[in-house]
């Protein structure tokens, strides 16, 4: 497919429009405690049970930076091939809201901890680079709950003060599919690093989506709208599609687009104006005087760099070089860290005489199908990597046929049984003794003389009949290749 064909364009009578998308992803830092307090961050706890005096902004309480969260942010920056800023500054973003106890959010405005970087997307028509503008650390707010009482709003401060990384992309994305791939790639990198669990259902990963459109070929950016707080990839794609079309319609009608913040209504599948540029908050950012500028040494960064695990891009390259996988196969296997781990364990357990192709096919075929059906992650796979490796080896060394292997695999699902034992107990071992197969075939030809004569006189279709009979007679265990060879000889 040429690049041109895959271009995402919005078509109107005489005009074609390109869509420009930039993302501000909010990724919750994987950390036991909050960014500036020691409260726990466990998801799903009883409301207001993980709240310290600092989180609730009691008088005289002061923030103290959690070093672990700083390390997590720097590691993520390294994973995004980004510049790590040795000096960064925490600012206060001031606004009033019931779930913002301090009356300000501690964030990083002018001097973020991580600067420019990039991520590589594997698109169907090749690779695409997306620029990262910055990554900064900030506090999450609490949660306002409006639907528990007709009169009152309830506030849960468990999330108040939890560390977030805001990852801002350059406006380099051009289609809903690229957005999907980008989010998945970010999530993959952070899961490899252990810096964010990427769980979108639990709100660990959400994004503000900036969308603008322009006539195809134009170099100028159009006026953008920001769609706030979208929490699933599907909704992001739907929101972009709706929003881009809305903007194109306005242009086609000769109207102008207002720069504004919009909300995506998931029920009606449309974006709605939340506030215009004129109503935008004046956040009165200024450096938080309770915190000194954050300074990290070269050693500190080097230490973290030295302990960065192999990341998806490098792993993919290694899988291609070392295991001779196709780029497509490698991409599938590295996209999720647990899949990659599983695959590598299978490879290790297969030992010397391994069939890589076969292993990949079993993982991406049979195993993925089972996981999909059961709707579980590979980390919860009912078949361990070790036993899958044994199964693949049994096929490879001719102990069982591929067909029998599927039967064995079904049996393995119940309690991760050893395939070797299943084969032995059920007597499923492949019959590969040429003499025994010859005897079997002799008997079949003898019992079906007329058919043999018909075959020899030119009714070639009957070959299949003989194969079937031979398989049946062996209880499916005879080596199909041997059957073919011997039958051909005998029926000549």
């Amino acid at each position: 497919m040429s690049k041109k064909n895959s271009e995402y364009l919005i078509n109107r009578k005489d005009n074609q429009y390109e869509v420009i998308i930039g993302l501000e992803v909010h990724a919750q830092v994987l950390s036991e405690s909050k960014l500036f307090s020691t409260s726990a961050t466990k998801f799903g706890a009883e409301p207001n049970t993980q709240v310290s005096l600092v989180d609730a902004a009691f008088p005289g309480m002061l923030p103290v930076i959690n070093e672990f969260c700083v390390k997590q942010a720097i590691k993520t920056g390294i994973g995004l091939n980004a510049k790590i800023n040795k000096r960064s500054v925490f600012d206060r973003k001031n606004y009033f809201y019931a779930d913002l106890p301090q009356g300000y959010q501690i964030s990083q405005f002018k001097n973020p901890i991580v600067g420019e970087g990039k991520v590589i997307l594997d698109m169907p028509d090749g690779q695409k680079e997306v620029g990262i503008e910055r990554l900064h650390l900030e506090q999450d707010a609490g949660k306002s709950i409006h639907d528990l009482d007709p009169q009152n709003t309830f506030v849960d401060l468990n999330r108040s003060g939890v560390a977030l990384m805001e990852i801002v992309s350059k406006p380099d994305l051009r289609s809903p599919d690229e957005v999907s791939t980008y989010i998945k790639k970010l999530r993959s990198i952070m899961r490899y690093l252990g810096t964010c669990d990427g769980n979108m259902q639990e709100g660990s990963l959400r994004a503000d989506v900036n969308v603008s459109v322009r006539a195809k070929g134009s170099k100028e950016f159009g006026t953008r709208c920001e769609i706030k707080n979208v929490n699933s990839i599907k909704f992001m794609q739907m929101a972009i599609e709706y929003e881009a079309n809305r903007q194109v319609d306005l242009i086609e009608e000769g109207k102008s687009i207002d720069q504004e913040t919009r909300l995506f209504d998931t029920k009606k599948n449309e974006t709605r104006s939340m506030r215009s540029k004129e109503d935008a908050h004046d956040y009165r950012y200024f450096p938080d005087p309770d915190l000194l500028p954050l300074e990290v040494s070269d050693e500190f960064i080097k230490d973290l760099k030295n302990n960065i695990p192999e990341l998806p891009d490098d792993k993919k390259k290694r899988f291609i070089d070392e295991f001779k996988l196709s780029p497509y196969e490698a991409t599938i296997l590295v996209s999720d860290i647990d899949t990659a781990k599983y695959f590598e364990e299978v490879v290790a357990k297969m030992g010397k005489n391994k069939d890589m192709k076969l292993a990949v096919n079993w993982i991406t075929g049979e195993l993925f199908a089972v996981l999909n059906n059961k709707n579980i992650e590979i980390s919860q796979s009912p078949v361990s990597a070790k036993n899958l490796a044994i199964l693949v080896n049994l096929i490879k060394n001719g102990t069982i046929s591929g067909k029998i292997a599927k039967t064995v695999f079904e049996l393995m699902l119940d309690g991760d049984k050893d395939p070797q034992k299943i084969v032995e107990e059920k007597g499923l071992k492949q019959q590969s003794d040429p003499k025994a197969i010859e005897a079997l075939i002799d008997k079949i030809i003898n019992d079906n003389r007329e058919k043999a004569i018909e075959y020899k006189s030119g009714k070639g279709k009957l070959f299949g009949f003989f194969v079937g009979q031979a398989m049946k007679a062996s209880g499916g265990k005879a080596n199909p290749q041997l059957i073919n060879e011997i039958l051909k000889k005998k029926l000549q």
């Binding site: 005096l53 609730a56 902004a57 009691f58 008088p59 005289g60 309480m61 002061l62 923030p63 103290v64 930076i65 206060r92 001031n94 009033f96 809201y97 019931a98 106890p101 301090q102 009356g103 300000y104 709003t153 506030v155 004046d282 009165r284 950012y285 200024f286 005087p289 309770d290 915190l291 000194l292």
Partner: protein, 485 residues
């Protein structure tokens, strides 16, 4: 002993250690005098019953190795005290009882001291006369209807009036030194980062420091050595080598070089202030130290800089008082309405004025012209001091441009009120230590103070200079007990 309350902290500690006095004796005496001194309005919250209980318990099993064994003491109501109401002088915290203790007060109780109560102050420490307190004016023991200064006005009044042997205040732009000067007492504003800000209701985070207020320099040194500790709960706390300040106190300042900054000779400064300063210079010389004329060229920008930086930080620090979580809440139609009513009714006019100034200078479009520029000037002011300290060991100035004024005299003129802090504010902006000691009286018989400014973390040096001068000055505070019937 009828004169218990006249004794200094050092004397009381000695008498308790010698078992000449019990904690109960001392605590009773200060409670009795405090009871008789309601007209001063120095207390917001009295904790006398509990104090007496603690004193009795102390006497049952006295630990005389402590630095303040069984010594009762009241503290400014800006320090959060566990289970004791803490208001910051504001209606908005009128019902607030902390479940935690500030690090500074914690340090004090650990040395055996006992809380007497919480002392009046300007609302959120914003004021120079204690007139912005929701809990009313404080009287200066020096004379009726005289302000005690502010914002630590209740603290100054309580020490000068002998309602407490010693106390702590906080100083953001002069709030310890100016009231000390107005009441004839000693007040130390330590180096920024010396005393933990944990548990102190914040006014302007980059300027706030807690410090001792005492009857004499030695007491001041003792309390400073107790409250100055490194605290990991305050990110701006600094881990430096701290002295045994009271033990190492000496009046030997021979050979020290003391700078006299010409820019502190401001227009319209009363002659008696100039005369006091000259007297101070003479005392310095009498002690065998040397005075050197220096220049701090950006001094005149200090006050405007301060009145941008401090309100900016305050506007953000006070955002948490919104009626949602604790403190006063007014009824509202909706969230915004509740915010507006709570904050309009809960904050007094001076606090509201500063919140508005702070909000304005941080607004987009004004930030660069005000806040950012102020930060740059602040750096220049600090550089002035750094430059001066290449030549001198400390700096001597008047503490205030005038003596205490009458209640109501300046309430309608905020700018003239702000001018009170003209000599103290630069010290906060530069994060330096400064001490005010009583050095004389004006024509009305009101006390006047001199300020010694030191290098960062050089508290020992300015305490020594103050100690040496104190001996030469031999100041006697004129307390007539006019308020006791």
């Amino acid at each position: 002993m009828s004169d218990i309350t006249k004794q200094s902290l050092t004397e009381l500690v000695e008498n308790i250690k010698n078992k000449k006095l019990s904690s109960t004796d001392v605590t009773k005496a200060f409670i009795e005098r405090s009871e008789k001194s309601k007209e001063l309005n120095a207390y917001i919250t009295e904790d006398f019953t509990s104090a007496l209980d603690k004193a009795k318990r102390f006497d049952q099993k006295p630990n005389l190795d402590l630095k303040m064994p069984g010594i009762p003491m009241a503290v400014k109501d800006l320090f959060c005290t566990k289970d004791v109401k803490t208001t910051a002088g504001s209606k908005i915290l009128n019902n607030f009882v902390p479940t935690y203790e500030s690090t500074v007060t914690e340090n004090i109780w650990k040395e055996g001291a006992i809380l007497l109560g919480k002392l009046n102050c300007d609302e959120f420490a914003m004021g120079s006369s204690n007139e912005t307190s929701f809990f009313g004016n404080v009287q200066n023991p020096i004379d009726k209807d005289l302000v005690p200064g502010g914002s630590s006005g209740g603290s100054a009044s309580a020490v000068a009036g002998q309602l407490t042997p010693i106390t702590i205040g906080t100083d953001t732009g002069g709030s310890i030194r100016q009231p000390a000067s107005f009441t004839g007492t000693v007040g130390l504003k330590p180096t920024y980062g010396s005393c933990s800000r944990y548990g102190i209701v914040a006014f302007a985070s980059s300027l706030d420091q807690a410090g001792p207020m005492a009857q004499n320099v030695k007491d001041c040194a003792l309390l400073y050595e107790i409250i100055s500790t490194y605290d990991s709960k305050d990110s701006t706390s600094i881990d430096f080598k701290r002295n045994q300040y009271s033990k190492e106190l000496t009046n030997n300042i021979k050979g020290k070089k003391i700078g006299i900054p010409k820019e502190y000779r401001v227009d319209g400064m009363p002659k008696e202030i100039e005369d006091l300063w000259q007297k101070g210079i003479q005392y310095i010389k009498d002690c065998g130290a040397e005075t050197i004329d220096i220049s701090l060229p950006h001094t005149s920008y200090a006050l405007p800089t301060y009145y941008i930086v401090a309100p900016a930080e305050a506007s953000s620090n006070l955002a948490r008082y919104d009626g949602v979580k604790y403190g006063f809440r007014a009824k509202g139609e909706n969230l915004i309405d509740m915010y507006e009513k709570t904050r309009s009714e809960g904050f007094g006019t001076e606090v509201q004025r500063r919140i508005m100034i702070g909000t304005y200078v941080l607004s987009s479009g004004y930030y660069d012209a005000y806040y950012l520029k102020a930060q740059k000037v602040r750096k220049l002011i600090k550089n002035d001091f750094d430059e001066a300290y290449k030549k001198v060991d400390a700096i001597l100035t008047p503490s205030t441009p005038s003596s205490a004024f009458k209640i109501g005299e300046k309430t309608d003129d905020p700018v003239s009120m702000y001018l009170n802090d003209i000599f103290t504010v630069p010290v906060n902006l530069a994060g330096l230590p400064g001490i005010s000691i009583p050095a004389g009286h004006d024509s009305k018989g009101y006390p006047l103070g001199l300020q010694v400014i030191g290098k960062a973390f050089d508290e020992q040096n300015i305490l020594n200079i103050a100690f040496a001068m104190e001996e030469k000055i031999n100041f006697k505070n004129k307390i007539t007990d006019w308020w006791i019937k």
